[in-house]
Symmetry: C2
Subunit: 107 residues, 2 copies
């Protein structure tokens, strides 16, 4: 019984997230924290979240192959609420993220 | 310049780890903790570590596609030292893991 429910739930998690981080910069901890935030908030949407150790100051987040954050381009790290909005827009666009969810796309 | 160094380092991390966990059992936290332990200990060996939300009481760890732990088969979760030995045997077999590294393969 739980097998059947399980299989159905797997199928309903089609989205893939990738986080690339620089080991030399010691960004594993913040990357793993962001991973847990995303896997908690998008429990029914994300089917895979991969951490990629890298170098050279890399910090990037990709959703289904699309880069949604680059530290080098954006000039820093995302606020977790902003990161969740960017992921939400790709995996569950109609969903509200609650009281912290404001339209910041024009800022 | 850092690009070139970065690419070279990526090539030296050929191994892939996958952790499957049951969301209904709330095993994300222990899975993410184990992920961070493995990525810290095998910083130069693991190129990708993927967390897979699942259901039905699943907890499995795979290295390069080989299942090295199954909660259902082994009857529980691995000690972190044991898990590191199992990963080490696949990704860096000649390496010692220090004072906690004893031969427990016969126990």
């Amino acid at each position: 019984m739980s097998r059947i429910i399980g299989d159905n739930m797997e199928n309903s998690r089609p989205h893939k997230v990738d986080i690339h981080y620089c080991t030399g910069c010691r960004w594993l901890l913040r990357s793993a924290w962001m991973a847990q935030e995303l896997l908690t908030t998008f429990e029914d949407e994300i089917g895979e979240l991969t951490l990629h150790p890298g170098s050279g100051g890399i910090f990037e987040v990709h959703v289904n192959g699309e880069r949604i954050w680059s530290r080098k381009e954006m000039g820093g790290f995302p606020e977790i609420t902003r990161l969740k909005q960017l992921v939400r827009d790709r995996v569950s666009p109609d969903r509200s993220l609650g009281h912290s969810d404001r339209n910041t796309s024009n800022t």
